[in-house]
């Protein structure tokens, strides 16, 4: 069951990586080869929706609490609605900073909840030898790093050159850190055998001597 879930998470992640790459190439096409601000904005907004859906799906597979899982699934629909409302309400073509802020807040809360779940788990797993941990670290670094950036972008005039430079530097740095952490996450080989071995060792020790059980000593 766990193995199947683990494979599913990785498959969704690779699908996310492929679609993100494709959308980034599309946005570059609309920005550099055939300059079209409208096309670039639409592609970027679509990318935001895809990113939200994929990341939340992965997190819903990682989190144990069923209520939070349902909230994550509901959040997908809510985010799509927010994005559509924001797109149709915007007077000029701009990036979706309000939905991005909402997604940042949402993911930070969900990831903190994931860490809280891991803190409560006393199974003895080494947390940093798992894919979901590094995935969560990458996301929390990305969203906490970009949170203020998106908040300021919403209120700052588009033509502020100084802000644009800072935006590029901060966004680039945070994205670089995120990608490095995602690379670590992908390269991690989940060491489940070790935990299985520890569990087996415990069971062997417990069943080796029949003194501890509460049976009648005659029947031993």
């Amino acid at each position: 069951m766990f193995k199947r879930n683990k494979t599913k998470i990785r498959r969704i992640f690779f699908l996310y990586a492929i679609i993100t790459s494709f959308l980034v190439l599309c946005s570059l096409y609309f920005r550099l080869i055939v300059p079209s601000k409208e096309g670039y904005i639409i592609i970027t907004r679509f990318h935001n929706i895809c990113e939200f859906i994929f990341l939340s799906t992965i997190l819903s597979l990682v989190i144990i609490n069923k209520l939070v899982r349902k909230i994550i699934i509901l959040a997908n629909f809510s985010f799509v609605i927010i994005c559509l409302v924001d797109y149709f309400q915007s007077t000029q073509p701009t990036l979706a900073y309000i939905p991005l802020l909402a997604s940042c807040t949402f993911f930070i809360i969900i990831i903190i909840f994931y860490f809280f779940e891991r803190l409560k788990d006393n199974s003895g797993d080494i947390i940093f030898s798992t894919f979901p941990f590094w995935f969560a670290v990458a996301l929390i670094a990305n969203f906490s790093g970009n949170f203020l950036l998106f908040a300021y972008s919403e209120t700052t005039p588009v033509k502020d050159a100084n802000f644009k430079i800072n935006y590029t530097i901060i966004y680039g740095t945070v994205t670089f850190i995120k990608n490095i952490l995602l690379c670590i996450a992908v390269s991690i080989k989940d060491n489940n055998e070790y935990y299985a071995k520890v569990a087996n060792d415990n069971s062997i020790i417990k069943t080796e001597i029949p003194i501890n059980n509460n049976k009648n000593p005659i029947n031993i």
Binding site: D125, I126, F128, L149, Y152, I170, D201, I205, I209
Partner: protein, 146 residues
């Protein structure tokens, strides 16, 4: 404003790193605790195993001593009474020897039965631990009264 943005972003990142660091630190602590717990469990099992082996050894020694010191001499004495010269002896002496040998063999049977009962009391086998303990207490009480 840009400085505030940079400082704020760095602050947010530090906060995120602090959360992650705390989680890792806590997990390591739990892992160490679990390892220690496992070691203690192993030590406990080892102590139980050693106690079990020691108890078995003591029990074997006690049985061996009982058989060697009590049952052995009794049977040897019985054999002396029933030696080969018995047929050459007078009838009254023969009867006396046989009677003495019978007494000794009875004692030996009683002794072996006691050893067997001390190993596995029939009350424990038939009526359980509670009845066996009650029976043992009553026996001890009777012995003290005598």
């Amino acid at each position: 404003m840009n400085i505030v943005l940079i400082i704020g972003t760095i602050g947010m990142l530090i906060l995120a790193i602090a959360i992650v660091g705390f989680v890792i630190f806590h997990q390591r602590k739990v892992f160490r605790f679990n390892t220690q717990l496992k070691q203690l469990e192993e030590e406990k099992q080892q102590i139980l195993l050693n106690a079990s082996i020691r108890f078995q050894e003591e029990e074997r020694n006690r049985i061996a001593a009982d058989l060697h010191d009590d049952a052995g001499p009794l049977l040897a004495t019985a054999r002396l009474y029933l030696n080969e010269n018995l047929v050459n002896q007078e009838k009254a002496q023969q009867l006396q020897s046989i009677y003495s040998a019978k007494q000794i063999i009875d004692d030996a049977i009683l002794l072996i039965r006691n050893i067997s009962h001390s190993l596995m009391p029939p009350t424990l086998k038939n009526f359980g631990l509670e009845s066996a303990i009650t029976d043992l207490f009553q026996k001890n009480k009777r012995q003290r009264q005598h």
